[in-house]
Symmetry: C2
Subunit: 165 residues, 2 copies
Amino acid sequence: MSDGTGRGQNLLFLTDEQLRQGSEAMFFAYRGFTADPDRILADLSYGRAHHRAIHFIHRSEGTTVNNLLAILGVTKQSLNRVLRTLIDDGLVESKVGTKDKRERHLFLTEKGAKLEQELSSSQRQRMRKAFRDAGPEAVHGFRQVLESMMDDDLRSLYKSIKDFE
Amino acid sequence: MSDGTGRGQNLLFLTDEQLRQGSEAMFFAYRGFTADPDRILADLSYGRAHHRAIHFIHRSEGTTVNNLLAILGVTKQSLNRVLRTLIDDGLVESKVGTKDKRERHLFLTEKGAKLEQELSSSQRQRMRKAFRDAGPEAVHGFRQVLESMMDDDLRSLYKSIKDFE
DNA sequence: TAGGATAAGTCAGCGTTGTTGACATTCCAA
DNA sequence: TTGGAATGTCAACAACGCTGACTTATCCTA
């Protein structure tokens, strides 16, 4: 795993203070990251769980409940509650699988797609500003560190859906 | 704010796909970020709120309740519930202010400091690995992007406590 | 010194979102 | 045809946000 530059980055000395600042940066930044969608969701008496479900149904149209469970990392009971309200409210459609009829394939309705747009565009706006302010090299580093911070199984999941399109 | 390189980084074109990948990286990385402390906390029937309180009391020993409220961004009722259990369990000590007797100054007990160490060291371990794997330039970019992503008031707060020591 | 402001704590109630456990239904595949 | 997988549902519970109302103690200022 040597980087071959001779700068010894694998031996990089990191103080507890530097690492603590990294943790706090994550904490405060995540607050900002979720702030804009949270405001929109509050008016609809939805929460982040609804947002996450909507996001991943949009990005993987027709995904199954089981697949969604793996991505979101929650119990089926927890997801089911969220999914049921979204279906009842006419934002998500659940279609029985054709090949395997046990499976349910999830889709956003027009109404659901509209909310997804609203949520993601508010979040993208902040992300775009942050990316532009920090510059391309910083963005590259940002993504490198985040990837390294993931659990192994989540990283493979992330990478597998990252280049889906 | 021109970077002077002539590459026009302020006009950086960012596709929705790139921004979405940034969002998803934040989502999956934050899961990893909290995973290790979460496991420790679960055994003690504590949650993330307890961790956050312990963290910021440790880093700003003797802080007041009001100050902690501002940092954590929750209501006084919500913090009070967490603080009460921590005090009852002998992890946190609350001392009446000497200058202003209305204030309560918060300290970790020996027991509290021990748990703090356990929590922060598990989180630091992951952060250290991520920082080393990604390298110093990446770490710099990581922090730049996270800072840009914060709300203005949280960024000033973050910066003000960042260089406290 | 009286009265308003501030810091903290408390009670009651509610909502979202996570958990476990138990159980029914449907359907595919060996 | 039977076992297991996928799904859905019910109940109960816990963590942790929230609002609103209220008390107590203290401080500061007019």
